[in-house]
Amino acid sequence: MEIALVGLVAVFFAVAVYLLLSKSIIRMLLGIVVIGNAVNLVLFTAGRLTAEVPPIIPAGEYVPLAGSANPLPQALILTAIVIGFALFAFLLVLGYRAYQELDADNTDTMRLAEPEDAPRPPLSY
């Protein structure tokens, strides 16, 4: 059953990478969200899948039901989701500010830090 998610993960990655290779910051941001989901799904799948039984111990029991899902990857993903969201939010605002300040959505035209006409190094001593 993991294999189905492997295929899905591939689609996620393909879309994410394609978006990230765009020159438009806004598309790159969409790519960031998608690649985050893709990575989380890989982590989820790598922890192996079980159907529908959450890793919660029913009241009165001391162990979860047989066949319950693997909680460890879930905890890791939860951490990764929140971290991913924080980074995404920052990059989004960054992209927004870059657009406003540099008047550019196209990364090719953002050349303040590494100007295209950077001076040649002096040959003097």
């Binding site: 689609v11 990655f13 969409l30 529908e52 039984v53």
Partner: protein, 792 residues
């Protein structure tokens, strides 16, 4: 016995550096007397070292050392034998006069204090170099001399020529030093010895090792760079940009001799092979001829002397390579003679410059009356330089010619080279000694005046010493030649040098030939000079020009590479990253031949298929969305589909979180996007789209294939089982995911909330960009208009 060696050596190695630290203040307090005061340091070192002559001449090797880096087997160790003692005496002795001389020469210079610091540091480095026992201690001092000479050559820092010369010297000698480092390390690795005294006990073993050749070459490169052997010689004449005391000290008597010292030191360890013989003699001989010829060509006093220094260094290298007992004794004598007369000559040149304002030999004449003491000193040094009896230089030359008249035919070739080389250097010596002083007086920038005692002390003492030392052959035999020659030759030498003019000795005829040739050259110097110039112009290329070419092409290449790799285009950076990533994902599996099989289509429930289908549809919609609203909605769809998948596979916490996060992402995306005025089209040329598509499919399939390979392994679930077993009874929680988050792996969560808080801070910080710029006067008009439009 001399003084306690531990104390003395500690003093010798530390005192110059301490003095260097204090020099600017000493200068401040003692003013014009600073030179005399600071000269106390080298003078006392000289006296201390004199005390070692006795024990050393009895072939006692004195060793001392402080524990320094026992963890790496490096000790701050020194040993004194004839060779190091001779160098030490030259360095401290000449150094004394140089310091005195600098006091007067640079009087009133705003940075004289700095100058004293540098020169004392240099002296300390040089002393450390020749006294060091440990290979790495030696190397440290070796590079310290490069560093301090860089500072000294660039002392006159406002002129580009000085900066260039300093850079050039640093690159050549520092770079050579790095090669030497590799050689020394290899030597250490091969022999297991990291001290010279230890290496000397294993002499002859290295030659058998397969690393011998690279080690020898690396050591030779290091030494040649330092001792300015052709083709690494070009930095030395340029180093004349330094103030004259520096030229006199570094570029005649000491630093450039470091390479000679090293070769002499290594002769027992690496020498004795044909390769050693031929490399040293050929390069040394070439340097001798080139240096001599170029010296005659010059008219600047310092340049003339600089090129003769090259010649002398070549001579020394050649003799060490020759390696017979006579050759080595000749080298030892010549080394001392050269240090004395060249140090004196440079100081004389400086005194003339100081007294008249010019160093151009063609512009000088008739100074004998204005500068009588200088004149006398110049004659005395020239006698030694030309090798006239009774000077030390004569003895040296006789011994050298003796070495070449012992054996078979190649010796005659070397003899010829030596005669020509010596004649050329003699010419320069005579020219400097007589040309500026004789003849009619010529007008000079200043009214010529004799130098002060401080300026004259060095030249006079050194030239007199160089002359009369030849009278004390007995003393020289036991105290100089036996110990030093023995150290280089690594065998007991019993020298029988005596001063005589025996016409049955072929060496005497060689000397006479030298004088005749030298005399002819002096007689026709103008013709020779212009012939050499024409030859030089015909070639039109020098190593010095070559250096500029190398540096500028290096910088241009660096510029071109950097511009290509760091082109400022994020898209290209990302492309490089993803292409590399695809290689990273595929190559290991291909190389190891472990690409997994493509698995069968799995059996899933229809709603599981449904969730997957929604995700795919959402993704495709993101990709092909024409308007930003559709893109955002589509993004939400794929996110919710992921949440759904989490829910279906038993992860309600994840599903909730994913759902909330996705909602928030969509909200803030919408908040931001409504303020942007963006193209809805993805501007990609068709080739770019294909390229990006191929890369993304490669990366994506790579990730998927690795995942398939990973899934083929049975997962060890012991951690999970532990969590399941202990969550309720021990951690008091029934939601295992939450227990992991706040208990088992709470520190992950701690880091994570720090991330969240930092994101809040970072976003606050970045928002301020505009807050500040709003008040900046020239607001960029276009985005402002767009903002209004967007918010309308």
């Amino acid at each position: 016995m001399g003084p306690s060696i531990d104390v003395s050596i500690a003093l010798i190695s530390i005192a110059p550096f301490l003095a260097a630290l204090l020099a600017p203040w000493i200068k401040k307090f003692t003013g014009p007397l600073a030179g005399w005061v600071l000269a106390i340091i080298p003078a006392s070192i000289f006296v201390l070292l004199l005390g070692f002559i006795g024990p050393v001449s009895e072939n006692t090797i004195l060793r001392a050392g402080l524990s320094w880096i026992p963890a790496y087997g490096i000790s701050f160790s020194f040993f004194v034998d004839g060779l190091s003692l001779t160098f030490g005496l030259l360095i401290s002795g000449i150094g004394t006069f140089i310091v005195i001389y600098s006091g007067a020469y640079l009087a009133g210079h705003p940075h004289q204090g700095r100058f004293f610091s540098y020169i004392l540091m240099f002296m300390g480095s040089m002393l450390g170099l020749v006294l060091a026992d440990n290979l790495f201690t030696l190397f440290i001092f070796w590079e310290l001399t490069s560093i301090t000479s860089f500072l000294l050559i660039g002392f006159d820092h406002s002129r580009q020529a000085a900066r260039r010369a300093a850079f050039q010297a640093l690159v050549v000698t520092g770079g050579g030093g790095l090669v030497l480092l590799a050689g020394l390390i290899a030597l250490n690795v091969v022999t297991g010895q990291n001290s010279l005294s230890g290496l000397l006990t294993t002499a002859g073993l290295v030659q058998q090792h397969s690393f011998y050749q690279p080690i020898m070459l690396m050591v030779i490169v290091g030494a040649f760079a330092k001792s300015a052997q052709v083709p690494l010689h070009f930095w030395l004449p340029n180093a004349m940009e330094a103030p004259t005391p520096v030229s006199a000290y570094l570029h005649s008597a000491t630093m450039v001799k470091a390479g000679v010292y090293l070769l002499a030191r290594m002769n027992p360890i690496l020498g004795g092979t044909d390769q050693w013989f031929w490399i040293l003699t050929l390069f040394g001989g070439t340097t001798l001829l080139v240096g001599g010829a170029l010296a005659v060509r010059q008219t600047d006093l310092k340049q003339m002397l600089a090129y003769t220094t090259l010649g002398s260094l070549g001579l020394l290298v050649m003799l060490i390579g020759f390696g017979t007992k006579e050759a080595i004794l000749g080298a030892v004598l010549y080394l001392c003679a050269h240090s004395l007369f060249k140090g004196a000559m440079f100081m004389i040149a400086g005194t003339i410059d100081h007294g008249t304002g010019t160093r151009d030999i063609t512009a000088l004449g008739g100074l004998r009356e204005a500068m009588p003491v200088t004149f006398v000193a110049a004659i005395l040094s020239a006698v030694s330089m030309a090798g006239f009896p009774i000077a030390l230089g004569f003895l040296a030359k006789e011994e050298i010619y003796l070495a070449m008249t012992q054996g078979v035919w190649p010796d005659l070739l070397f003899l010829a080279v030596l005669i020509v080389g010596n004649a050329l250097m003699m010419t320069v010596g005579l020219l400097i000694a007589f040309k500026p002083f004789l003849g009619p007086e010529k007008p000079t920038p200043h009214e010529p005046h004799e130098g002060s005692p401080a300026l004259l002390a060095g030249p006079v003492v050194l030239s007199v010493l160089g002359l009369i030392a030849g009278l004390f052959t007995g003393w020289l035999n036991t105290n100089l030649l036996d110990p030093v020659g023995g150290a280089i030759y690594n065998n007991v030498i019993d020298a029988h040098l005596y001063l005589a003019f025996d016409i049955t000795n072929p060496a005497v005829w060689a000397s006479i030939a030298t004088w005749v040739l030298g005399g002819l050259l002096v007689w026709r110097v103008d013709a020779v000079r212009s012939a050499l110039r024409r030859a030089g112009n015909a070639i039109g290329w020098t190593f010095d020009i070559g250096f500029d070419w190398v540096i500028s092409s290096l910088i241009r290449t660096a510029d071109a590479i950097t511009r290509t790799l760091h082109n400022g285009r994020l898209e290209i950076y990302l492309l490089i990253v993803f292409v590399t990533l695809a290689l990273v994902l595929y190559l290991p599996m291909i190389v190891t031949g472990t690409l997994p099989q493509i698995p069968d289509i799995p059996v899933l429930t229809y709603y599981e298929w449904g969730a997957i289908l929604i995700a795919v549809v959402g993704l495709l919609a993101v990709l092909f969305a024409r308007t930003r609203l559709v893109a955002i909605v589509a993004l939400g769809i794929q996110g919710f589909a992921v949440a759904l998948i989490f829910l279906l596979f038993g992860a309600p916490d994840l599903a909730f979180t994913q759902f909330m996060v996705e909602t928030l992402s969509v909200i803030i995306l919408a908040l931001v996007m409504t303020r942007l005025h963006l193209d809805s089209k993805d501007h990609r040329e068709i080739e770019e789209a294909v390229r990006d598509g191929v890369v993304s499919v490669a990366v994506a399939s790579g990730f998927a294939i690795v995942l398939v390979a990973v899934l083929a392994v049975d997962l060890d679930l012991s951690l999970t089982e532990f969590f399941q077993a202990t969550s309720a009874p021990i951690a008091h929680g029934r939601n295992i995911v939450n227990v992991i988050l706040v208990d088992y792996r709470a520190i992950d969560t701690l880091g994570e909330i720090s991330v969240v808080m930092a994101a809040g801070l970072a976003i606050l910080a970045i928002i301020r960009v505009r807050a500040r710029n709003r008040f900046a006067p020239p607001a960029p008009p276009v985005p402002a208009k767009r903002r209004r439009k967007a918010s309308a």
